[in-house]
Assembly symmetry: C2
Homo-oligomer: 242 residues x 2
């Protein structure tokens, strides 16, 4: 079996370009790395091409792949410890779901936070994560890694948040906006179907979006008024878990 | 008032060296940036020196500071957006607290996770965060930023985790080890004084440490067996909040 050893190889060049949003959007594909996330792709039809570092293990369900040298693998990896497998993957199409528990994100720009929120929402049985246009790109490599593969299973869409909130309200979904300024404490809500709106770390949910929400919700703390947005999301998802 | 404009200035050189653990440990000081974290230092006696970018605001309680040029401020900042104020700060001495709610960390190495855990533990009224020797350095700039200043208020110590667990047990504190393999679900615990042990993202709590715990605890999820460690900590701290 042939092994790619040159960084000038066209396949490798194209794979590396996918670290830039521009090329991702042009090709509707992105790059992932690591065995864990590859396993999460097993049941999907999203894989375009897999690269395996020579001498490393190959999952038995994987029939087509390209071997690359250690040097190439190191050049593709965005992690300190490096990875043995990489895959070019198609963008995840929005899924036609019956929304019952939903997260709406208003300008969450930290990739780690966005990825962790997607992972957490999936863990607790939420159906969808809707992102405003000014959220981080969900195919950014840090976002993808932090999701641990959850982005392949959830319905995730980037859209106009206000329009989505109105649509959810028309379907009688209770829309709750998080607000450190007040509202109802989380513990006073029953576990029920709902859409939770979380905002950016610096600013929170914008006043325009907050005005559309049915109720405001806050998490009671002893010190500090605000929590990290991913932590707040975790506590709220746990409270409203399916 | 004099303005430092040269990166060769000895004060600036020393400040920059504090981005390395070696120099932090030699001087028992570290570097912080941003107005928010400076405010958290207001009531402490930890500030050694403050640098303010020329033309930027100075808190009215701050009587001594050094002006620096824009160029110097940019060279000191570890954030994309930059900062207007910086401070050299003394290491936070361990506080003599009566431990009632405690977090114990076994090898949490991601700086963002460690900082967020410290912030969250403080938010929910926990007394101490104890870190094993192989956790990330609490004075790493990413850790410090993620704490949002909580590290100045909590008791934080780096120590032998097993010895600390035995000490807490001798004081009749219930020690709960998190374990994705099983144990009791979080929801079956009453809100009570306790010490929670959380492990590294990859490996979890080590078997040696887990064996010392009074009980094992897990968070019930619908999908995936494990949560990000900071998210797990957030949900647990919220459950056992003061």
């Amino acid at each position: 079996m042939e092994i790619i050893t040159s960084v000038q190889n066209q396949q490798i060049k194209k794979a590396k370009q996918l670290l830039e949003k521009k090329y991702r959007d042009e090709t509707n594909t992105f790059l992932v790395e690591g065995y864990h996330i590859l396993e999460e792709l097993k049941e999907t039809d999203l894989i375009v091409q897999v690269f395996v570092k020579q001498g490393c293990g190959v999952p038995n369900w994987l029939t087509h792949y390209t071997l690359v040298s250690e040097h190439i693998a190191a050049s593709l990896s965005q992690t300190k410890s490096g990875s043995d497998v990489f895959a070019i993957v198609k963008f995840v199409e929005s899924k036609n779901v019956n929304d019952r528990r939903v997260i709406l994100l208003d300008g969450v720009q930290d990739p780690g936070n966005l990825g962790t929120i997607i992972r957490t929402a999936y863990s607790f049985g939420f159906d969808s994560v809707y992102c405003s246009e000014n959220c981080a790109d969900i195919y950014n490599d840090k976002v993808v890694r932090a999701t641990q593969g959850a982005l392949f299973h959830l319905n995730i869409q980037r859209l106009n948040l206000c329009a989505k909130i109105l649509e959810l309200k028309n379907k009688d979904i209770l829309v709750l906006g998080t607000d450190v300024q007040g509202g109802m404490g989380l513990d006073s809500f029953l576990n029920q179907d709902c859409a939770i709106v979380l905002g950016s770390e610096g600013v929170g949910v914008s006043s325009e979006v907050l005005a559309l929400c049915d109720k405001k919700l806050f998490i009671e703390t002893k010190q500090f008024e605000s929590l990290n947005v991913a932590i707040a999301c975790g506590i709220i998802c746990h409270h409203f878990k399916v």
